[in-house]
Symmetry: C2
Subunit: 395 residues, 2 copies
């Protein structure tokens, strides 16, 4: 009955989600405190108090007809877009104006808007494994073809030699995600410079424009003073997709933005297309109250010391158990090498201890598993003895 | 640079929007009080006070990690879905459960979700002119083909004889919208019964399933005690798309739902597909705070006496000027016959008096114009002398 394209999607419906639901089931049987659910990237740190205050003020002070009304432009409130642009300019030395900002229904909405705007059927979109599995769905939505660059399991920086070979005259876009889901790796400035140089050269060689789409929901979640380069400064055809899901712990509210700089080829046309795509995909505009909330909270961010503490505890604990993994510099994920080649077998073994983790094949990187450590610290403390038992099966 | 499919869309970008922006421009020059902008269906009545109260309570009392977090299911909070189902059952004698409800990013989001779930390339979707022009874009998003039934300008009830002829083995869905945008007409129970009988017969004849998609953002906006039949009771393969944009004056907040009853063919599969479509189209879930708000305000609705007063004043005023139009029973639109064949010429003439109205060709019904009367009463009072001057050019 359903569309052919959806049949596969429904059948393969996100392993992450299935795991999350399994977690709820186990919690129902054994009690939530006896289930160690590392499956979903749902922030566990409350939104800053300033968010509450902003909502209260908006509700009390703003005209509800405006506050809850359609925005004049599908791209969002003019004042909100200007606030976002000014903040980016201040932080990153960019020169954006309000018109360069399109408020979106989270980063997922933003990625759909920009892919709808750019992709013709058969166009290629490159992603570096391991990558967020939804990039494949988003690309498929517009009949694009996702092209994978294989994972560099040494340090999870992108494999630039393979990347260079995979850029073709049909490449319309390259998606990068740093800090990265699922590895927590931050791409170094050197990596970005090389990547930009390769793309510039290929644009020249093919006489095409290749867009770099930077998916940045984790920009604010970095540790040990790591720097996340702002990509529009390295490559002209860069479009940024941002979300407040993690930085303000508002994932359910669906609020983020796209940056489409003037330096982008035909930027006026791309901005117009993004505005239309926002409308015709049914988003219409990003939720209005939350647009105003993020503008009021433009200098706020969630308390990442909580994630940092979890990161240290879980990383050190797993290393002590004998597991291998890269210490993440950002986001709230650990990407751990499976002690057996088939990581799904490892995930099944972990489940015996009520530990829920996601197979790396969901991120095009089999042989690894992802642990989301946006959980209570207690969950980590209590899970570690279970990981120790689990480790004994292998080491 | 942009996708081929988008070029046309950008070029033709909603006449309604263009008009709305023209309104802002004129207001900037002549003052808002001297511009009579009837172009956009942006509610002018404030959300009920209960909405404010609900937001305050939610912010003060709920755990922000849950209130602003991803919902366990992409279809929304379980308690919210149950509240919606129970309310529908109470009002319409239906038998829905929470699982039959998918919370959506407004009705536009819901329509995209259900079309993505159902439509294969080349599938036909029937709409009755005049219809909301976005139905064409939404259908095109999934490579469906919109098939029009021509307008019945006598009373704007659907032309059922032509409809019967246009149902083919490729018809996957029929969209109806009652109360109707742009006519304000409510389809009678008799119309619905006949329409259902035709669809049943064609399903049998072709051995196919044909879905009736009822787009109902105006359900609550009816006057003079008009009844709007609840369509799932007349035809098994009915899917309802609802929005709180008009009933609670929350259009910018993007909150609505789909109803996918058990009676729908393969309803479990359709529900699963809608859940996946919500995720992969980038909606992820309907905005969470607003999900909770509408559940708390389930028995509230906006004060429609305001629209009713506008309706009477504008309808009678225009009739007095000599214009022809059907008196609407619902929504907040008047669909007026253009005094000249080319209604765009009429719209241009109206603009000389700073009156902004939308050509019927935007709704596949040339020769007519749409006036949205969700404006201040003052706007109507002040516009009527201008309409009188305008009328003198024709009568």
């Amino acid at each position: 009955m359903i569309a052919e394209k959806m049949k596969n999607m429904v059948a393969n419906s996100s392993a992450i989600r299935a795991m999350f639901e399994e977690g709820n089931r186990l919690a129902g049987i054994y009690g939530a405190e006896n289930v160690y659910d590392f499956s979903l990237g749902n922030p566990n740190v409350a939104a800053p108090e300033a968010v509450k205050q902003a909502v209260r003020e908006l509700i009390d002070e703003e005209d509800p007809v405006v506050l809850h009304g359609y925005t004049n432009s599908n791209s969002g409130y003019a004042d909100v877009r200007e606030t976002v642009a000014a903040s980016l300019n201040q932080r990153f030395g960019t020169c954006f104006a309000g018109k360069n900002i399109v408020m979106t229904v989270g980063a997922a909405g933003g990625l759909n808007v920009i892919l709808k705007s750019l992709i013709n059927p058969g166009d290629e979109v490159i992603a570096f494994a391991p990558y967020f599995g939804e990039y494949r769905s988003y690309t498929n939505n517009y009949d694009g073809v996702l092209v994978e660059v294989s994972p560099n399991t040494e340090n999870f920086q992108p494999k630039l030699d393979e990347f260079e070979q995979k850029l073709t005259p049909k490449t319309k876009a390259v998606i990068i995600n740093t800090p990265n889901n699922p590895t927590g790796v931050v791409y170094s400035e050197e990596t970005i410079q090389k990547l930009a140089a390769i793309m510039e050269a290929k644009q020249k060689e093919y006489g095409t424009d290749i867009f770099l789409i930077s998916d940045e929901p984790y920009r604010e979640l970095v540790y040990d003073g790591a720097e996340v380069p702002y990509l529009t400064k390295y490559y002209a055809n860069t479009i940024v997709g941002y979300s407040y899901s993690k930085s303000l712990s508002l994932p359910g509210e669906r609020i983020g933005y796209l940056v489409i700089p003037d330096e982008v080829a035909d930027s006026g046309e791309v901005l117009a297309a993004a505005n239309v795509a926002t409308r015709i995909l049914g988003f219409v505009n990003a939720p209005t109250l939350q647009q105003k909330v993020v503008a009021k909270c433009i200098n706020e961010k969630t308390d990442i010391s909580f994630y940092d503490r979890n990161r240290e505890e879980l990383y050190n604990g797993l290393k002590d158990c004998g597991f291998e993994c890269i210490k993440p510099e950002g986001a709230f994920y650990l990407f751990v090498k499976s002690p057996v080649a088939d990581e799904k077998e490892f995930c099944a073994a972990a489940k015996k201890y009520h530990i829920l983790i996601v197979p790396g094949s969901s991120f095009a990187c089999p042989g690894y598993v992802r642990l989301a450590y946006c959980v209570s610290h207690e969950t980590i403390v209590n899970a570690l003895p279970k990981f120790k038992e689990l480790a004994k099966e292998y080491f």
